[in-house]
Symmetry: C2
Subunit: 222 residues, 2 copies
Protein backbone atom coordinates (compact mmCIF):
# COMPACT_ATOMS: atom_id res chain seq x y z
CA UNK A 1 0.00 0.00 0.00
CA UNK A 2 2.82 2.36 0.96
CA UNK A 3 4.53 1.30 -2.25
CA UNK A 4 1.50 2.14 -4.38
CA UNK A 5 1.14 5.48 -2.68
CA UNK A 6 4.74 6.39 -3.44
CA UNK A 7 4.34 5.47 -7.12
CA UNK A 8 1.25 7.66 -7.34
CA UNK A 9 3.17 10.51 -5.79
CA UNK A 10 5.99 10.08 -8.29
CA UNK A 11 3.41 10.26 -11.09
CA UNK A 12 1.99 13.43 -9.58
CA UNK A 13 5.49 14.91 -9.40
CA UNK A 14 6.06 14.14 -13.07
CA UNK A 15 2.72 15.70 -13.92
CA UNK A 16 3.63 18.87 -12.00
CA UNK A 17 6.94 19.17 -13.85
CA UNK A 18 5.26 18.68 -17.24
CA UNK A 19 2.71 21.34 -16.40
CA UNK A 20 5.43 23.77 -15.34
CA UNK A 21 7.35 23.07 -18.54
CA UNK A 22 4.22 23.67 -20.65
CA UNK A 23 3.73 27.04 -18.93
CA UNK A 24 7.36 27.98 -19.57
CA UNK A 25 7.08 26.97 -23.24
CA UNK A 26 4.07 29.24 -23.78
CA UNK A 27 5.89 32.07 -21.95
CA UNK A 28 8.81 31.74 -24.38
CA UNK A 29 6.53 31.77 -27.44
CA UNK A 30 4.57 34.76 -26.20
CA UNK A 31 7.68 36.69 -25.25
CA UNK A 32 9.06 36.18 -28.75
CA UNK A 33 5.72 37.19 -30.25
CA UNK A 34 6.07 40.48 -28.39
CA UNK A 35 9.50 41.00 -30.00
CA UNK A 36 9.01 39.61 -33.50
CA UNK A 37 5.32 40.34 -34.21
CA UNK A 38 5.46 43.50 -32.09
CA UNK A 39 2.43 42.16 -30.27
CA UNK A 40 2.00 43.94 -26.94
CA UNK A 41 -1.20 42.16 -26.02
CA UNK A 42 0.53 38.91 -25.10
CA UNK A 43 2.73 40.57 -22.47
CA UNK A 44 0.36 40.50 -19.44
CA UNK A 45 -0.15 36.73 -19.86
CA UNK A 46 3.61 36.17 -19.65
CA UNK A 47 3.69 37.84 -16.23
CA UNK A 48 0.63 35.89 -15.09
CA UNK A 49 2.19 32.58 -16.07
CA UNK A 50 5.38 33.52 -14.26
CA UNK A 51 3.37 33.79 -11.04
CA UNK A 52 2.05 30.26 -11.59
CA UNK A 53 5.54 28.97 -12.36
CA UNK A 54 6.84 30.49 -9.13
CA UNK A 55 4.07 28.87 -7.10
CA UNK A 56 4.70 25.53 -8.76
CA UNK A 57 8.40 25.74 -8.01
CA UNK A 58 7.73 26.04 -4.29
CA UNK A 59 5.19 23.19 -4.42
CA UNK A 60 7.49 20.86 -6.35
CA UNK A 61 10.35 21.44 -3.93
CA UNK A 62 8.01 20.65 -1.08
CA UNK A 63 6.85 17.46 -2.82
CA UNK A 64 10.45 16.33 -3.35
CA UNK A 65 11.37 16.88 0.31
CA UNK A 66 8.22 15.17 1.57
CA UNK A 67 8.63 12.14 -0.68
CA UNK A 68 12.21 11.58 0.45
CA UNK A 69 11.37 12.10 4.12
CA UNK A 70 8.28 9.87 4.13
CA UNK A 71 9.28 7.07 1.78
CA UNK A 72 13.06 6.92 2.02
CA UNK A 73 13.26 5.88 -1.62
CA UNK A 74 15.93 3.50 -2.94
CA UNK A 75 18.85 4.63 -5.11
CA UNK A 76 17.08 4.99 -8.48
CA UNK A 77 14.02 6.78 -7.14
CA UNK A 78 16.15 8.97 -4.89
CA UNK A 79 18.20 10.07 -7.89
CA UNK A 80 14.97 10.80 -9.73
CA UNK A 81 13.60 12.97 -6.93
CA UNK A 82 16.88 14.83 -6.43
CA UNK A 83 16.89 15.33 -10.20
CA UNK A 84 13.32 16.64 -10.10
CA UNK A 85 14.34 19.24 -7.50
CA UNK A 86 17.16 20.39 -9.77
CA UNK A 87 15.11 20.35 -12.99
CA UNK A 88 12.55 22.39 -11.06
CA UNK A 89 15.15 25.12 -10.42
CA UNK A 90 16.13 25.15 -14.10
CA UNK A 91 12.50 25.41 -15.20
CA UNK A 92 11.89 28.38 -12.95
CA UNK A 93 15.00 30.14 -14.19
CA UNK A 94 14.30 29.58 -17.84
CA UNK A 95 10.80 30.96 -17.33
CA UNK A 96 12.52 34.04 -15.85
CA UNK A 97 14.36 34.47 -19.13
CA UNK A 98 10.98 34.85 -20.86
CA UNK A 99 10.35 37.77 -18.50
CA UNK A 100 13.74 39.22 -19.44
CA UNK A 101 12.78 38.96 -23.12
CA UNK A 102 9.46 40.73 -22.46
CA UNK A 103 11.31 43.60 -20.76
CA UNK A 104 13.48 44.05 -23.85
CA UNK A 105 10.36 43.80 -26.04
CA UNK A 106 8.80 46.73 -24.19
CA UNK A 107 11.81 48.91 -25.00
CA UNK A 108 11.96 47.68 -28.60
CA UNK A 109 8.29 48.56 -29.12
CA UNK A 110 9.05 52.24 -28.44
CA UNK A 111 11.08 52.41 -31.67
CA UNK A 112 10.43 51.36 -35.29
CA UNK A 113 11.56 47.84 -36.20
CA UNK A 114 15.27 47.54 -37.01
CA UNK A 115 15.07 44.88 -39.72
CA UNK A 116 13.26 41.63 -40.58
CA UNK A 117 13.73 38.90 -38.01
CA UNK A 118 15.37 35.74 -39.24
CA UNK A 119 17.69 34.35 -36.57
CA UNK A 120 15.68 35.16 -33.44
CA UNK A 121 12.56 33.18 -34.48
CA UNK A 122 14.76 30.18 -35.29
CA UNK A 123 16.57 30.47 -31.94
CA UNK A 124 13.23 30.69 -30.15
CA UNK A 125 11.90 27.61 -31.91
CA UNK A 126 15.00 25.60 -31.02
CA UNK A 127 15.03 26.81 -27.40
CA UNK A 128 11.37 26.00 -26.87
CA UNK A 129 11.80 22.56 -28.40
CA UNK A 130 14.79 21.90 -26.14
CA UNK A 131 12.72 22.78 -23.08
CA UNK A 132 9.87 20.46 -24.10
CA UNK A 133 12.10 17.54 -25.03
CA UNK A 134 14.47 17.83 -22.06
CA UNK A 135 11.43 17.51 -19.77
CA UNK A 136 10.12 14.58 -21.80
CA UNK A 137 13.53 12.95 -21.51
CA UNK A 138 13.48 13.50 -17.76
CA UNK A 139 10.02 12.20 -16.92
CA UNK A 140 10.24 9.29 -19.40
CA UNK A 141 13.82 8.44 -18.42
CA UNK A 142 14.87 8.66 -22.07
CA UNK A 143 18.65 9.18 -22.22
CA UNK A 144 18.76 9.13 -26.02
CA UNK A 145 16.35 12.01 -26.29
CA UNK A 146 18.36 13.86 -23.63
CA UNK A 147 21.55 13.47 -25.68
CA UNK A 148 19.73 14.70 -28.75
CA UNK A 149 18.60 17.82 -26.85
CA UNK A 150 22.19 18.53 -25.80
CA UNK A 151 23.25 18.26 -29.42
CA UNK A 152 20.80 21.00 -30.44
CA UNK A 153 22.49 23.42 -28.07
CA UNK A 154 25.41 23.67 -30.52
CA UNK A 155 23.08 25.04 -33.19
CA UNK A 156 21.74 27.58 -30.72
CA UNK A 157 25.27 28.71 -29.85
CA UNK A 158 26.14 29.06 -33.54
CA UNK A 159 23.07 31.22 -34.14
CA UNK A 160 23.94 33.35 -31.12
CA UNK A 161 27.41 33.97 -32.53
CA UNK A 162 25.98 34.78 -35.98
CA UNK A 163 23.46 37.29 -34.67
CA UNK A 164 26.06 38.94 -32.43
CA UNK A 165 28.29 39.55 -35.44
CA UNK A 166 25.38 40.90 -37.47
CA UNK A 167 24.16 43.23 -34.72
CA UNK A 168 27.66 44.47 -33.92
CA UNK A 169 28.10 45.47 -37.59
CA UNK A 170 24.73 47.13 -37.48
CA UNK A 171 25.69 49.21 -34.41
CA UNK A 172 29.05 50.17 -35.92
CA UNK A 173 27.53 51.36 -39.19
CA UNK A 174 24.50 53.18 -37.87
CA UNK A 175 24.56 54.93 -34.51
CA UNK A 176 20.78 55.29 -34.46
CA UNK A 177 20.55 51.48 -34.41
CA UNK A 178 22.61 51.03 -31.23
CA UNK A 179 19.83 50.81 -28.69
CA UNK A 180 17.64 48.48 -30.77
CA UNK A 181 20.53 46.23 -31.79
CA UNK A 182 21.65 45.99 -28.18
CA UNK A 183 18.20 44.97 -27.00
CA UNK A 184 17.98 42.32 -29.72
CA UNK A 185 21.41 41.06 -28.76
CA UNK A 186 20.21 40.65 -25.19
CA UNK A 187 17.12 38.78 -26.42
CA UNK A 188 19.41 36.35 -28.25
CA UNK A 189 21.43 35.88 -25.04
CA UNK A 190 18.28 35.12 -23.07
CA UNK A 191 17.28 32.50 -25.64
CA UNK A 192 20.75 31.00 -25.35
CA UNK A 193 20.27 30.82 -21.56
CA UNK A 194 17.01 28.97 -22.04
CA UNK A 195 18.94 26.45 -24.13
CA UNK A 196 21.54 26.19 -21.36
CA UNK A 197 18.87 25.39 -18.78
CA UNK A 198 17.32 22.78 -21.08
CA UNK A 199 20.80 21.29 -21.49
CA UNK A 200 21.10 21.13 -17.70
CA UNK A 201 17.79 19.25 -17.52
CA UNK A 202 19.01 16.87 -20.24
CA UNK A 203 22.20 16.22 -18.25
CA UNK A 204 20.15 15.57 -15.12
CA UNK A 205 18.02 13.09 -17.12
CA UNK A 206 21.06 11.12 -18.21
CA UNK A 207 22.37 11.05 -14.66
CA UNK A 208 19.02 9.74 -13.41
CA UNK A 209 18.80 7.01 -16.08
CA UNK A 210 22.39 5.89 -16.27
CA UNK A 211 23.66 6.83 -12.84
CA UNK A 212 26.64 8.50 -14.40
CA UNK A 213 27.52 12.10 -14.67
CA UNK A 214 27.80 13.47 -18.20
CA UNK A 215 28.52 17.01 -17.12
CA UNK A 216 31.95 18.34 -17.98
CA UNK A 217 32.73 15.54 -20.40
CA UNK A 218 33.65 15.98 -24.03
CA UNK A 219 31.96 12.69 -25.03
CA UNK A 220 28.44 13.81 -24.24
CA UNK A 221 27.27 14.10 -27.83
CA UNK A 222 24.97 11.42 -29.36
Amino acid sequence: MMERHFDENLQALKYQLMKMSALAEVMISDAIKAVVDRNEEVIPAVYEREELVNQMQVEIDETCLTQIALHQPAAGDLRFIMGAAKANADLERLADEAINIVKRAKTLLTEPPLKPFIIIPEMAMIARGMVRDSLHAFVNRNANLAREVMFRDDRLDALKTAIAAELTDCMTMESSAVSRALNLLLVSRYLERIGDHATNIAEISIFVVEGRDVRHHADRKP
Copy 2:
Protein backbone atom coordinates in the same frame (compact mmCIF):
# COMPACT_ATOMS: atom_id res chain seq x y z
CA MET B 1 28.25 5.62 16.21
CA MET B 2 26.19 5.96 13.02
CA GLU B 3 25.09 9.35 14.36
CA ARG B 4 28.63 10.54 14.82
CA HIS B 5 29.59 9.35 11.37
CA PHE B 6 26.76 11.32 9.77
CA ASP B 7 27.77 14.52 11.60
CA GLU B 8 31.31 14.10 10.37
CA ASN B 9 30.04 13.65 6.83
CA LEU B 10 27.97 16.81 7.10
CA GLN B 11 31.10 18.66 8.23
CA ALA B 12 33.00 17.26 5.26
CA LEU B 13 30.21 18.40 2.95
CA LYS B 14 30.37 21.94 4.35
CA TYR B 15 34.12 21.93 3.94
CA GLN B 16 33.79 20.86 0.28
CA LEU B 17 31.31 23.67 -0.42
CA MET B 18 33.55 26.26 1.26
CA LYS B 19 36.51 25.06 -0.79
CA MET B 20 34.48 25.26 -4.00
CA SER B 21 33.32 28.76 -3.10
CA ALA B 22 36.90 29.87 -2.39
CA LEU B 23 37.95 28.60 -5.83
CA ALA B 24 35.08 30.45 -7.49
CA GLU B 25 35.95 33.67 -5.64
CA VAL B 26 39.54 33.58 -6.88
CA MET B 27 38.28 32.84 -10.39
CA ILE B 28 36.11 35.97 -10.29
CA SER B 29 38.98 38.15 -9.04
CA ASP B 30 41.40 36.81 -11.63
CA ALA B 31 38.89 37.15 -14.46
CA ILE B 32 38.36 40.80 -13.52
CA LYS B 33 42.13 41.35 -13.28
CA ALA B 34 42.34 40.17 -16.88
CA VAL B 35 39.75 42.81 -17.87
CA VAL B 36 40.68 45.76 -15.63
CA ASP B 37 44.46 45.39 -15.23
CA ARG B 38 44.76 43.89 -18.72
CA ASN B 39 46.68 41.05 -17.12
CA GLU B 40 46.76 38.05 -19.44
CA GLU B 41 48.93 35.95 -17.17
CA VAL B 42 46.11 35.17 -14.75
CA ILE B 43 43.95 33.58 -17.48
CA PRO B 44 45.30 30.00 -17.50
CA ALA B 45 44.72 29.69 -13.74
CA VAL B 46 41.05 30.57 -14.21
CA TYR B 47 40.63 27.62 -16.57
CA GLU B 48 42.56 25.31 -14.23
CA ARG B 49 40.35 26.25 -11.30
CA GLU B 50 37.26 25.65 -13.39
CA GLU B 51 38.39 22.04 -13.87
CA LEU B 52 38.64 21.66 -10.10
CA VAL B 53 35.24 23.27 -9.58
CA ASN B 54 33.69 20.85 -12.09
CA GLN B 55 35.22 17.86 -10.34
CA MET B 56 34.04 19.12 -6.98
CA GLN B 57 30.51 19.59 -8.28
CA VAL B 58 30.28 15.91 -9.24
CA GLU B 59 31.77 14.83 -5.90
CA ILE B 60 29.42 17.02 -3.84
CA ASP B 61 26.35 15.70 -5.68
CA GLU B 62 27.56 12.18 -5.00
CA THR B 63 28.07 13.00 -1.31
CA CYS B 64 24.55 14.44 -1.03
CA LEU B 65 22.94 11.37 -2.61
CA THR B 66 25.00 8.96 -0.50
CA GLN B 67 24.26 10.75 2.76
CA ILE B 68 20.51 10.71 2.13
CA ALA B 69 20.52 7.07 1.00
CA LEU B 70 22.66 5.80 3.89
CA HIS B 71 21.47 7.90 6.80
CA GLN B 72 17.88 8.83 5.92
CA PRO B 73 18.30 12.16 7.70
CA ALA B 74 15.47 13.88 9.55
CA ALA B 75 13.69 16.98 8.25
CA GLY B 76 16.27 19.66 9.13
CA ASP B 77 19.28 17.70 7.91
CA LEU B 78 17.45 16.57 4.80
CA ARG B 79 16.67 20.19 3.93
CA PHE B 80 20.32 21.04 4.48
CA ILE B 81 21.54 18.28 2.16
CA MET B 82 18.98 19.09 -0.54
CA GLY B 83 20.06 22.72 -0.16
CA ALA B 84 23.71 21.73 -0.50
CA ALA B 85 22.94 19.97 -3.80
CA LYS B 86 21.29 23.14 -5.07
CA ALA B 87 23.96 25.53 -3.78
CA ASN B 88 26.44 23.23 -5.49
CA ALA B 89 24.73 23.82 -8.86
CA ASP B 90 24.79 27.59 -8.30
CA LEU B 91 28.47 27.56 -7.36
CA GLU B 92 29.38 25.67 -10.51
CA ARG B 93 27.38 28.05 -12.68
CA LEU B 94 28.77 31.20 -11.13
CA ALA B 95 32.26 29.83 -11.66
CA ASP B 96 31.28 29.41 -15.33
CA GLU B 97 30.55 33.13 -15.44
CA ALA B 98 34.20 33.79 -14.56
CA ILE B 99 35.09 31.78 -17.68
CA ASN B 100 32.67 33.91 -19.70
CA ILE B 101 34.40 37.05 -18.36
CA VAL B 102 37.81 35.67 -19.33
CA LYS B 103 36.58 35.06 -22.88
CA ARG B 104 35.51 38.70 -23.13
CA ALA B 105 38.84 39.77 -21.62
CA LYS B 106 40.72 37.97 -24.40
CA THR B 107 38.84 39.97 -27.03
CA LEU B 108 39.21 43.22 -25.08
CA LEU B 109 42.97 42.72 -24.87
CA THR B 110 43.25 42.83 -28.66
CA GLU B 111 42.27 46.53 -28.62
CA PRO B 112 43.46 49.58 -26.65
CA PRO B 113 41.55 50.28 -23.41
CA LEU B 114 38.28 52.14 -23.87
CA LYS B 115 38.31 54.25 -20.71
CA PRO B 116 39.20 54.00 -17.01
CA PHE B 117 37.27 51.33 -15.13
CA ILE B 118 35.09 52.54 -12.30
CA ILE B 119 31.86 50.54 -12.20
CA ILE B 120 33.16 47.10 -13.17
CA PRO B 121 35.66 46.82 -10.30
CA GLU B 122 32.94 47.82 -7.85
CA MET B 123 30.51 45.28 -9.33
CA ALA B 124 33.19 42.58 -9.11
CA MET B 125 33.91 43.40 -5.47
CA ILE B 126 30.23 43.23 -4.56
CA ALA B 127 29.65 40.00 -6.53
CA ARG B 128 32.64 38.27 -4.97
CA GLY B 129 31.57 39.32 -1.48
CA MET B 130 28.06 38.04 -2.14
CA VAL B 131 29.44 34.63 -3.14
CA ARG B 132 31.59 34.39 -0.02
CA ASP B 133 28.88 35.52 2.37
CA SER B 134 26.05 33.49 0.83
CA LEU B 135 28.15 30.37 1.36
CA HIS B 136 28.98 31.44 4.92
CA ALA B 137 25.28 31.98 5.53
CA PHE B 138 24.53 28.52 4.16
CA VAL B 139 27.11 26.49 6.07
CA ASN B 140 26.63 28.44 9.30
CA ARG B 141 22.84 28.50 8.97
CA ASN B 142 22.87 32.28 9.34
CA ALA B 143 19.58 33.65 7.93
CA ASN B 144 20.44 37.27 8.82
CA LEU B 145 23.61 37.19 6.79
CA ALA B 146 21.65 35.56 3.94
CA ARG B 147 19.13 38.44 3.97
CA GLU B 148 21.95 40.96 3.97
CA VAL B 149 23.47 39.29 0.89
CA MET B 150 20.12 39.50 -0.92
CA PHE B 151 19.98 43.19 -0.10
CA ARG B 152 23.35 43.79 -1.81
CA ASP B 153 21.94 42.43 -5.07
CA ASP B 154 19.99 45.69 -5.49
CA ARG B 155 23.20 47.68 -5.58
CA LEU B 156 24.60 45.30 -8.19
CA ASP B 157 21.48 45.74 -10.34
CA ALA B 158 21.70 49.53 -10.05
CA LEU B 159 25.34 49.45 -11.16
CA LYS B 160 24.44 47.18 -14.08
CA THR B 161 21.81 49.69 -15.22
CA ALA B 162 24.25 52.61 -14.83
CA ILE B 163 27.00 50.96 -16.85
CA ALA B 164 24.54 49.88 -19.57
CA ALA B 165 23.46 53.51 -20.03
CA GLU B 166 27.07 54.70 -20.09
CA LEU B 167 28.19 52.07 -22.59
CA THR B 168 25.17 52.59 -24.84
CA ASP B 169 26.01 56.31 -25.06
CA CYS B 170 29.58 55.41 -25.77
CA MET B 171 28.56 53.13 -28.68
CA THR B 172 26.16 55.72 -30.09
CA MET B 173 28.75 58.50 -30.07
CA GLU B 174 31.75 56.59 -31.32
CA SER B 175 31.38 53.69 -33.73
CA SER B 176 34.95 52.54 -33.15
CA ALA B 177 33.98 51.89 -29.52
CA VAL B 178 31.14 49.46 -30.34
CA SER B 179 32.99 46.16 -30.01
CA ARG B 180 34.78 47.13 -26.79
CA ALA B 181 31.71 48.65 -25.19
CA LEU B 182 29.69 45.56 -26.07
CA ASN B 183 32.25 43.24 -24.50
CA LEU B 184 32.32 45.35 -21.33
CA LEU B 185 28.55 45.32 -21.23
CA LEU B 186 28.61 41.53 -21.36
CA VAL B 187 31.19 41.47 -18.54
CA SER B 188 28.80 43.54 -16.40
CA ARG B 189 25.98 41.07 -17.21
CA TYR B 190 28.16 38.13 -16.15
CA LEU B 191 28.89 39.87 -12.84
CA GLU B 192 25.17 40.45 -12.38
CA ARG B 193 24.59 36.71 -12.97
CA ILE B 194 27.15 35.90 -10.29
CA GLY B 195 25.14 38.08 -7.93
CA ASP B 196 21.96 36.23 -8.98
CA HIS B 197 23.53 32.87 -8.14
CA ALA B 198 24.72 34.18 -4.77
CA THR B 199 21.17 35.42 -4.15
CA ASN B 200 19.88 31.92 -4.95
CA ILE B 201 22.29 30.45 -2.39
CA ALA B 202 21.13 33.03 0.17
CA GLU B 203 17.49 32.05 -0.47
CA ILE B 204 18.38 28.38 -0.05
CA SER B 205 20.08 29.24 3.25
CA ILE B 206 16.97 30.92 4.61
CA PHE B 207 14.84 27.96 3.53
CA VAL B 208 17.19 25.56 5.32
CA VAL B 209 17.25 27.61 8.53
CA GLU B 210 13.64 28.74 8.73
CA GLY B 211 11.91 26.01 6.73
CA ARG B 212 10.05 28.64 4.78
CA ASP B 213 10.47 29.71 1.25
CA VAL B 214 11.52 33.32 0.71
CA ARG B 215 11.67 33.05 -3.04
CA HIS B 216 9.16 35.11 -4.96
CA HIS B 217 8.19 37.24 -1.97
CA ALA B 218 8.36 40.97 -1.75
CA ASP B 219 9.16 40.91 1.99
CA ARG B 220 12.51 39.24 1.65
CA LYS B 221 14.58 42.31 2.48
CA PRO B 222 16.28 42.66 5.90
